[in-house]
């Protein structure tokens, strides 16, 4: 009897916490379809006017484009460098490895305002402040640890005998990498890429410090909008971003399961 009450209690608490995590995201979805400009429920009528305003506004269009450019720069660099480093450091024990890993992971935990402030001083003399390239480089440094971590996790189950077998059959190192290693670690690389992209796509503090009006990114545009006067247009953008997040999350989750299956873990 006590066990049943405990079970019910535990379920109740768990579902409430899950509701706390998810419901706040869902509240803004209906308001973004409102025909009125006030931000409360219930909505007086359904309309797509805020989506129209969003998709026809040059400022929002520019911001979305900028975010994809910066995200692409950051992701390409982070994936290339992070994957190579993960392969190089896997099953490679040497003195000072813990320190090196600590250094490479540190962009994940250093307060973002410190990165922004440092970049603000560092990029100006290089002519990289107020440029999408500069922001992309800063974001690449923030995203690379995610690639390092996800690819390292995939490599944990990687049977090095596959690579040895290929090499013993005469494949050149690059061929071994391309034909054997890469296909096996691909899920880790792709989910690392997703993490790196989201890190950049969602980043606003460095963007605040490093961008001028022409380099405004989507989060920066939303930030300014929320600060000035939060309108249903912002909620329309937010709704699209939630849909985008769901797509990314499901992709990452699918990759994780596929990777576990490939490595025979699950």
């Amino acid at each position: 009897m006590g066990q049943r009450i405990r079970g019910i209690l535990l379920w109740t608490v768990s579902l409430l916490v899950l509701a706390f995590l998810v419901l706040p995201l869902l509240v803004i979805v209906p308001i973004s379809f409102s025909s009125a400009s006030f931000l409360s429920l219930p909505i007086p009528g359904v309309s797509l006017r805020w989506y129209e305003a969003l998709l026809t506004s040059p400022a929002w269009g520019r911001a979305i484009l900028n975010s994809f450019i910066v995200g692409a720069i950051a992701t390409v660099i982070a994936v290339a460098l992070g994957t190579l480093a993960a392969i190089g450091l896997h099953r490679n024990e040497f003195r000072g490895k813990a320190l090196l890993m600590g250094l490479l992971i540190s962009p994940m935990i250093v307060p973002i305002v410190i990165v922004a402030l440092g970049s603000y001083f560092f990029y100006a003399p290089l002519g990289l402040s107020s440029s999408l390239l500069g922001l992309g480089l800063a974001h690449a440094a923030l995203g690379a640890p995610f690639v390092l971590v996800t690819v390292s996790a995939t490599l944990t189950g990687f049977d090095a005998n596959f690579a040895r077998a290929a090499a013993s059959l005469g494949a050149a190192p690059l061929t071994v990498f391309r034909r054997v290693t890469l296909p096996i670690i691909a899920p880790g690389v792709i989910s690392g890429a997703l993490f790196a992209f989201v890190t950049s796509f969602d980043e606003v503090v460095v963007a605040l410090f490093l961008t001028g009006p022409l380099q405004r990114t989507l989060p920066r545009q939303m930030f300014d909008g929320i600060r000035e006067n939060i309108s249903p247009t912002i909620l329309a953008a937010a709704t699209l971003l939630i849909v985008f997040a769901i797509v990314l999350l499901l992709t990452a989750e699918m990759l994780r399961r596929r990777s576990q299956r490939l490595r025979g873990i699950s």
């Binding site: 190579l84 490679n92 307060p111 969602d202 605040l208 410090f209 989750e253």
Partner: protein, 414 residues
């Protein structure tokens, strides 16, 4: 016993070690691009910030002679007004700086010492005669009596070195007085330590609430069949993947006066007037808890998944009531996850900026917001860098504890 030898006659062990070392070096070669990239685009900018926090400013470059003389003057005790040589050197270099248009830069630096010194310097430069009427000292005092006070000269003296501890002292609400003795700032101006303490306080509260909410959820997920747990885990991960600004915007809408929370409470008849939930501390804590909760659930869940259910069964079958078994067996085993989650959430929380800025009021701003304000609004980069340095030291200390307790392999994602 005969040692085994490789083809070239060396002992097998040596050959093996050589091969291992070559492999290790090749691996390091592969890691090198990321190491270099991180050093250049992450470590170097932060090192630059550390340097900025002790760099004094343009005074030694703009007024080299005055700076050198003021250094000597700072060595005298008791310290009266500087002598005529300092006044003369200063008047000469003030004119040069005014002609070279480097004066505004210097005046801005002096204004950080005392608001008002900027206009004092600029006005004096405008009205400075070609030659002194009597001594330079009388001339300058004639232009503005402030030149006859020790305060401005002490301020010039503090600005005359290449390196300074002034910004770091200021970030900890201390300053050097006219005799260069370290003193705490007046209570009315002590805002930086208060902001640091507030940051730590908010972070601690958020960490605690996250732990209380995450522990039962993680326990439920860890004791469910794998497939159900994975499905519910998606709900935990969804906020994790959603833009921070989206989540902040949602909370603004939910917590506002006409928001669903207030409407529901009014409908239930629990309140007559809408509650003020936004632009204050509870709003900040609720929103930050929401943002950071997944970072608490994930590490606790992954540790709990590794606890064999047999342990609890064994304890209860031996007669322990559920809560005793839980407290004595399960909870201690789950502690590594709790430690990892708490440290991670706390480390992430102390760097928060956007959420408190948009949802908090003036008294809920965390130290990051102050750093951004000093950098982008008042352009006091030295002080901004000093506050950044203090925040960085706290973070690195906590990160060090984290790697000791959890290890860098403990950083896992989903």
């Amino acid at each position: 016993m005969e040692t085994m030898t490789a083809g070239d006659g060396r002992s097998l062990r040596t050959a093996l070690r050589r091969a291992e070392r070559a492999r290790s070096l090749r691996g390091l070669g592969l890691a090198l691009p990321l190491v270099l990239f991180t050093l250049v685009f992450f470590v170097l900018p932060i090192a630059g910030m550390l340097v900025k926090s002790v760099q004094n400013g343009p005074m030694p470059a703009i007024m080299p002679q005055t700076s050198a003389l003021l250094q000597q003057w700072r060595g005298t005790d008791p310290r009266g007004l500087p002598d005529e040589a300092v006044f003369a050197a200063f008047a000469g270099e003030l004119r040069t700086a005014s002609q070279d248009r480097t004066l505004p830069e210097l005046a801005t630096r002096l204004n950080f010492e005392n608001a008002g010194y900027r206009s004092l310097l600029m006005a004096t430069a405008r009205r400075l005669p070609e030659a002194p009427a009597g001594s330079w000292r009388d001339t300058l005092v004639g232009l503005n009596p402030q030149w006859g006070e020790v305060g401005i000269w002490a301020a010039l003296g503090r600005a005359s070195t290449r390196l300074t501890d002034g910004y770091l002292l200021a970030a900890l609400d201390h300053r050097r007085d006219d005799n260069d003795r370290v003193q705490s700032t007046d209570a009315s101006r002590s805002i930086y330590v208060a902001s640091l303490l507030r940051t730590l306080e908010i972070s601690a509260i958020v960490t605690l609430i996250c732990l209380v909410l995450a522990y039962p959820l993680a326990y439920r997920l860890a004791t469910l069949p794998e497939s159900t747990a994975n499905l519910l885990m998606i709900l935990v991960l969804l906020p994790f993947w959603t833009s921070l600004l989206v989540r902040t915007a949602s909370w603004l809408v939910i917590l506002q006066r006409e928001g669903p929370i207030n409407e529901m409470l009014q409908w239930l008849g629990l309140i007559d007037q809408p509650l003020e939930l936004v632009f204050n501390r509870p709003g900040v804590i609720i929103a930050m808890t929401h943002v950071l909760l997944p970072f608490m659930v994930l590490p606790i869940y992954s540790v709990m998944k590794g606890i064999p259910p047999n342990y609890m069964r064994a304890a209860t079958s031996l007669g322990a009531p559920f809560f005793t078994a839980f407290r004595r067996v399960y909870f201690p085993l789950s502690l590594p996850g709790v430690t990892a989650g708490c440290l991670l959430v706390f480390i992430l929380a102390i760097g928060y900026y956007i959420t408190p800025l948009l949802i908090g009021g003036a008294n809920d701003q965390m130290v990051s917001a102050l750093i951004a304000f000093l950098t982008l609004q008042t352009l006091n980069w030295g002080l901004a860098a000093a506050l950044g340095t203090v925040l960085l030291v706290i973070t690195i200390a906590l990160y060090f504890v984290y790697t000791r307790v959890v290890g860098t392999d403990g950083v896992k994602l989903g």
